[in-house]
């Protein structure tokens, strides 16, 4: 017994090193596995608070740009509304309208944004208290941003589309062929669409939107335009480079999308798996 204790004391640095190193490797591996809540995330009281404070300072510098974006979006929405008003009468303030809408939008401000790493995350200043849950979609008026991963009371972290773990269902607007949106970690303005069937008619400049096969994003949210494409060796699938509509290096304010009937659908799907 004495010898064991002596051995431990003599090698305490080595043992401490091995223990802590194993722990940090565990955290690292956990962070590389897709869609798992983590112990260490910036959706917490300390880092969320500090990021919130610093983005409060920074956002003043971009106010003009954010205003312009809001004006553009308002213009678009008003034009759409005007187009509808010809055909149906749009009542103002119908509260019951909110009961049957499929998607509900919530606003949030980006308080931290990475884009230079392989696995990038975004921190938002809204959390569980405002009804944010994991696996909700995050978009701006221009296009998609990512998917909520971790949520604390007042903050949440988002897996950016600039993350090697991110896989999002997307399609071509022209032909409705589906593919998977991934990122190769190189250019923050370019993402890749893989597994598009070789039959699909594609050309440069075509628009890519979300596919609507998941419960996260509604169908038809803009992503980007085709910049470059190559067929794989067997000529059965395309790999397409897409230039994003969103400037991921300057996101600003975002919308979080809640699918109001998600739980019902999930329950139904689980029932099928049980049988």
């Amino acid at each position: 017994m004495q010898q064991i204790i002596n051995f431990l004391i003599r090698n305490k640095n080595n043992i401490l090193f091995l223990l802590l190193f194993a722990f940090s490797l565990f955290l690292t591996i956990q962070s590389h596995s897709f869609q798992k809540s983590k112990f260490v995330s910036s959706a917490n009281f300390i880092s969320g608070g500090i990021y919130g404070w610093s983005s409060g300072v920074k956002s003043y510098m971009h106010l003009d740009e954010y205003n312009q974006r809001l004006l553009d979006e308002n213009q678009l929405l008003r034009n759409r509304l005007a187009a509808f008003e010809d055909t149906i009468q749009v009542k103002e303030f119908v509260d019951s309208l909110f009961d049957n809408q499929l998607y509900r939008y919530k606003t949030a401000e980006v308080i931290n944004n990475n884009y230079s790493k392989i696995d990038n995350y975004i921190t938002l200043n809204r959390g569980a208290r405002e009804g944010i849950r994991p696996d909700m979609g995050v978009v701006t008026s221009k296009g998609i941003v990512g998917i909520v991963e971790n949520v604390s009371a007042n903050y949440s972290t988002v897996i950016s589309i600039l993350n090697s773990n991110s896989k999002i269902n997307a399609k071509l607007t022209k032909s409705d062929h589906f593919g998977t949106l991934v990122w190769d970690g190189e250019d923050p303005n370019i993402v890749q669409l893989i597994d598009v069937p070789g039959l699909a008619p594609i050309s440069k400049g075509d628009t890519i939107v979300t596919g609507g096969q998941s419960l996260i994003f509604p169908e038809g949210i803009p992503i980007g335009t085709i910049e470059e494409f190559t067929l794989d060796r067997t000529e059965s699938y395309f790999t397409i480079d897409i230039r994003l509509f969103n400037d991921m290096t300057n996101v600003g304010y975002v919308y979080i999308i809640e699918h109001t009937q998600k739980e019902e659908i999930m329950d139904l799907q689980e029932m099928n798996q049980d049988e």
């Binding site: 802590l20 722990f23 940090s24 500090i50 190189e186 250019d187």
Partner: protein
């Protein structure tokens, strides 16, 4: 001794905040960021308690990871550097390296440079290896290690020159 504890504590928190609020947003040429927080590992007293040093560097890295959402990559890199620092010290300062006498500010320029360079490159290599997490992007790994490493080394020496006046 008390002032040493104080200055290291201040340095610990100041470097974390500086890193996450300012330096992580530089993104020079898209991906080159300096990791100045290794300055804590460089300047920690050479004759300090090694167990304490391991613990502190782990928490330094974990503190950065907390902000970066990067799992435990900074913690692992800092910890590894802290663990092999005695070997780096012995290599750089040669026979004059003695646990009791050598102080960072009183070493020769050449050996001081090799000490900082080795420490920074080891740290960055482990950091980016864990961040990229595959050997498929070996070129990207080396590129990032090299350019970010140079950036960090330049910043380390600039910072040292800036704050070194009183010791002369």
């Amino acid at each position: 001794m008390n002032s040493e504890i104080f200055s290291n504590t201040v340095r610990f928190f100041f470097l974390i905040l500086l890193q996450v609020l300012l330096l992580n947003n530089i993104n020079f040429l898209g991906y080159v960021n300096p990791y100045l927080y290794v300055l804590f590992l460089i300047l920690f007293p050479f004759n300090g308690n090694q167990t304490l040093f391991l613990l502190l560097s782990f928490f330094l890295g974990l503190g950065i990871d907390l902000f970066e959402d990067s799992g435990g990559i900074n913690a692992a890199a800092c910890l590894a550097v802290a663990y092999i620092r005695p070997a780096i010290l012995r290599f750089s300062f040669g026979v004059s390296y003695d646990y009791q006498t050598v102080k960072f500010s009183s070493t020769a320029y050449g050996s001081r440079f090799s000490y900082v360079a080795i420490l920074v490159f080891v740290h960055h290599f482990i950091l980016f290896l864990l961040e990229i997490f595959s050997f498929a992007h070996l070129l990207l790994l080396l590129k990032k290690t090299f350019f970010s490493g140079i950036f960090t080394i330049v910043l380390v020496f600039l910072t040292l020159a800036l704050f070194n006046r009183k010791s002369r």
